[in-house]
């Protein structure tokens, strides 16, 4: 069973969380982004077999959306952290 560490609540069973998919920056100027940029953002994914930065949501807990670095082949979780401009790029 996978254990995930919520930045608020500490270590919890993964069934308390919902995966929010790989982290991807939004088009930086949304009003100027064309269809191509939006479709890239909305549909297309790196979907790596390896280390992935991704969103998680503590659904049955504190409700926090946070980030994790997970190896998608082994499911090993290297770190979990709060979103913040300095941590994400």
């Amino acid at each position: 069973m996978l254990i995930l560490k919520c930045p608020n609540c500490g270590q919890r069973n993964v069934s308390e969380f919902r995966n929010g998919g790989e982290y991807r920056p939004r088009p930086s100027r949304p009003l100027d982004a064309d269809d191509q940029q939006w479709s890239n953002y909305v549909f297309f994914r790196h979907n790596v077999s390896g280390l992935q930065k991704e969103w998680w949501y503590h659904r049955n807990g504190c409700g926090l959306w946070f980030l994790a670095e997970r190896h998608t082949k082994t499911n090993e979780i290297l770190s979990t952290f709060r979103w913040g401009p300095d941590r994400t790029e």
């Binding site: 993964v14 995966n19 269809d35 549909f43 979907n47 077999s49 998608t72 082949k73």
Partner: protein
């Protein structure tokens, strides 16, 4: 007696290289060689053929989808299955025993009514039935109002059923081989050479190959192969699990699916109950089973068929599947010339392998997208013209 397929040295040049030795890749190779005279073809498989989804699926075949283009496409596949045993000279054990999808609420019933109409307009046998007819078709189901989610109706699709998946893989491999195709097992693609937005070759753990045509038929791994050609896909890879019970005397001669309870079940010719559910709760390339899955599967099956309480689970396994946002595949050209895709097969792609392989072979040989598969192009995502097949493909595979 000769072997079903031969072992070859890797040539340094092929007219087409197919990556992925599942039913899709092998079938495409077979049609390229048998119908289009393109025989200098290699199928590269990193492990053994059928080691991906093609050897792990629960072998359900059906054509009662929701979109007209989807119904036409899967129906063409079912027609190919109907004559496959003769064509490939192997017993694929196609059993069109009937397929029923249960409704436990009004919303499902409404989707099913729509599916039945769409199906019939495309000439596919499919209709809504009520609990007394469900009970006749499948006496073991609890159709009373006792369960938490009582059964209120079902979509009945008589031509749906199951098939022996391994035989399909071996049949295509055998016939492709007989037409000169090289099947290379334990051959992993490690890179794709692209020059000026055109494919020029493939790198493998056994050496380099020159080619102008590459087909990505790697299902759950398709994003890793596309990345080698510099492309992203609208695909997310997730595990999908299944399980079988100990063998029982024959009592279940239809395939039963319940979308609301997230389970489906059929009985194999050996008597085992073959059961599955929807994809795992989070994406991963790991094919490990989980206790969560076995527990929820068992409790839901017992809700449907209380008589199975004391039956033992025998095996459980997982495969990885390539999910798309609209529960529909992606077939045909990509922005890289010579690089074709046959991916996005999610939880439902085994049944499509005959027609997908045939269409991709035609697409590669003629450099034109056949009409049957134009709705499934990669470009639909850039045009925001998605398929919307979730109502017929999210639980029932």
């Amino acid at each position: 007696m000769s072997r079903m397929w031969q072992v070859h040295e890797l040539r340094d040049r092929y007219d087409a290289v197919i990556i992925g030795g599942g039913a899709h890749g092998l079938c495409c190779a077979y049609y390229l060689a048998s119908e289009h005279g393109i025989n200098n073809v290699a199928v590269l498989e990193k492990r053994y053929i059928g080691s991906g989804g093609s050897g792990r699926n629960t072998a359900i075949v059906r054509s009662n989808y929701l979109t007209p283009a989807g119904v036409r496409f899967y129906d063409a596949s079912l027609k190919l299955y109907e004559r496959m045993a003769v064509e490939l000279d192997i017993n694929v054990m196609l059993s069109q025993r009937g397929h029923i999808t249960l409704a436990h609420n009004d919303i499902s019933l409404r989707t099913m009514r729509r599916r039945a109409e769409v199906n019939r307009l495309q000439g596919v046998e499919s209709r809504l039935i009520l609990p007394d007819e469900i009970k006749q078709l499948c006496p073991v189901l609890d159709v009373s109002d006792r369960p938490r989610y009582p059964i209120i109706g079902a979509l009945y699709h008589p031509p749906g059923g199951i098939i022996r998946h391994d035989a399909v893989v071996w049949g295509y491999a055998h016939q492709a081989d007989a037409h000169g195709v090289h099947i290379h097992q334990m051959t992993e693609v490690t890179g794709i050479e692209v020059s000026g937005a055109k494919v020029t070759g493939v790198k493998t753990n056994r050496g380099q190959i020159k080619t102008e045509t590459v087909l990505n038929a790697t299902a759950g791994w398709c994003s890793t192969i596309s990345a080698m050609a510099g492309l992203r896909l609208p695909v997310i890879t997730s595990p999908l699990q299944a399980a079988v019970t100990e063998p029982l005397k024959p009592f279940l001669d239809v395939v039963v699916v319940s979308g609301s309870l997230h389970v489906y079940v059929s009985q194999s010719d050996r008597g085992e109950l073959v059961m599955g559910a929807s994809v795992d709760p989070f994406p991963s390339y790991s094919s490990r089973g989980s206790l969560d899955f076995a527990e929820s599967l068992a409790s839901h099956i017992i809700e449907l068929m209380p008589g199975l309480q004391r039956v033992r689970l025998m095996r459980q396994w997982a495969g990885i599947v390539d999910m798309t946002p609209d529960y529909s595949p992606i077939m045909g050209f990509t922005p890289v010339e010579g690089f074709f895709v046959d991916v996005g097969w999610g939880t439902y792609g085994f049944k499509a392998s005959p027609i997908a392989g045939k269409m991709l072979a035609e697409c590669i040989a003629t450099k034109r997208t056949p009409d049957l598969i134009t709705p499934f192009s990669l470009s639909r995502f850039n045009e925001f013209d998605l398929m919307g097949e979730a109502g017929a493909a999210s639980v029932g595979h």
